[in-house]
């Protein structure tokens, strides 16, 4: 049997992006700028946590040490998380939350399209299901970037600030390391480098429709995929994991 460690790592990355971004979005619950958006933000959070459960359950079974989705989500420390730095960035204003979502959704969508053709049927099935939901996420965040960008001077300024501020976190999405290469070789995973082009095409096209200036920096924050996180993740985990840490095995 092939070494399962790269596949386990790869599945953690998929699951952790969902867990952490979902947590961030859930922070908006009751604070959305309008009721409809409060619902949309939390609906997207719900889809992402549902998908993360599928990925982490599969990760636990691939690892073979008896860890389930809850143990993986609640009992790992920051260094054990494999999410992109982008998704742990604070919500900021509504424009920041949307810029983060828009960059992530675009990448997530093309990633899932690739994974739907995975040679591992368990992965292909989860990707296929998630893709339907993520297409809705991407349509929404793209629509909002255009609405706010091509809006009032106030909304345009905020949207521009947000897409500029988060740009440096997008490069990590296309970084390819040994884990990626191992799963790509098996026909199981997607080479992140191949996502760069379709991602950029959709992002630039949307920014243009939004009358926003595409950022042109090419220096990137990296490390999340390897467990090197920004200070923000620790605060998220302190909030998210408190109950299971303080009262081990507590059940709802």
């Amino acid at each position: 049997m092939a070494d399962q460690q790269p596949l386990f790592e790869y599945l953690l990355r998929l699951g952790d992006n969902g867990v952490i971004l979902s947590h961030r979005l859930s922070e908006w619950c009751g604070h959305g700028p309008v009721l409809e958006e409060d619902l949309a933000l939390t609906n997207v959070a719900l889809d992402l946590i549902g998908q993360a459960r599928l990925w982490l359950t599969l990760a636990g079974s691939v690892e073979g040490k008896g860890r389930d989705e809850d143990q993986l989500a609640y009992l790992r420390d920051a260094g054990g998380f494999r999410n992109l730095l982008l998704v742990e960035q604070p919500n900021g204003d509504f424009a920041h939350t949307l810029a983060r979502q828009f960059y992530f959704d675009t990448w997530h969508y093309f990633l899932l399209r690739g994974l739907a053709g995975s040679s591992d049927s368990r992965i292909a099935e989860i990707a296929d299901k998630s893709l339907k939901e993520v297409a809705y996420h991407l349509r929404r965040s793209s629509e909002w970037v255009v609405t706010l960008g091509d809006g009032t001077p106030e909304s345009q300024g905020r949207m521009q600030t947000a897409v500029d501020a988060l740009w440096a976190y997008t490069g990590e999405m296309f970084e390819t390391d040994a884990v990626d290469m191992a799963v790509v070789e098996d026909g199981v995973g997607v080479n992140p480098d191949t996502l760069r082009e379709p991602w950029a095409a959709h992002v630039y096209d949307t920014l243009e429709r939004a009358t926003l200036r595409p950022p042109d920096e090419n220096w990137w924050h990296k490390g999340g995929k390897r467990g090197l996180h920004s200070e923000h993740l620790g605060f998220i985990l302190a909030d998210m994991q408190f109950l299971q840490r303080a009262y081990p095995n507590a059940r709802w």
Binding site: V44, L46, D47, I49, Q51, S121, D128, K129, E133
Partner: protein, 170 residues
């Protein structure tokens, strides 16, 4: 292995399941929703395969409990519920009867087939004809693709001005 004579037939079980309603839209059954994919006996255990609607739908677990409880009340104790995520659930599986029940409950049923996942522009799409479940006007407008539950979008009717839920295509 053949079902024992005392086991109810699969057809009988389907009619029982058709009486189990969705907890969040209590006028439509789990069979109308198209989430019960298969019912079969294997070695005196009744297997029911369920395909969840949305990955994070909180109703999924309740639905499983409701199905198990309904079958228990019919005297079936050897029941195995399986979650089957592939093929992924689609609104194309909603029954005709289910669509009619949704409309009379005030929820516009899905219009046409699922939007192709390849359509991601976020721009104006081929406009679906979504009819107001109250006044039957097709002069309606989308407020948000996300509504009160994961499966619904939020619309408003321009004719009667009432907001309504639309069971969105997926």
């Amino acid at each position: 292995m053949k079902a024992q004579p005392q086991n109810p037939t699969v057809e009988q079980v389907w009619t029982w399941l058709a009486e189990v309603n969705d907890p969040e839209i209590p006028v439509i059954s789990v069979v109308d929703l198209g989430i019960v994919r298969e019912v079969f006996w294997r070695e005196n255990v009744l297997h029911v395969a369920i395909t969840p609607t949305y990955s994070g739908c909180p109703a999924t677990r309740i639905i499983e409990q409701d199905i198990a409880e309904a079958l228990r009340q019919r005297g079936l104790t050897q029941v195995q519920l399986e979650t089957r995520i592939s093929p992924a659930w689609t609104t194309d599986w909603l029954s005709e009867q289910g669509r009619e029940k949704l409309t009379s409950y005030g929820i516009a049923p899905p219009s046409g087939s699922a939007i192709p996942i390849t359509d991601i522009s976020g721009g104006p799409r081929a406009v679906l004809r979504i009819v107001c479940p109250r006044c039957s006007s097709d002069q309606t407008r989308k407020i948000s693709d996300f509504g009160s539950t994961p499966c619904k979008a939020h619309y408003v009717c321009r004719s009667c001005m009432e907001p309504f839920d639309y069971f969105k295509c997926i």
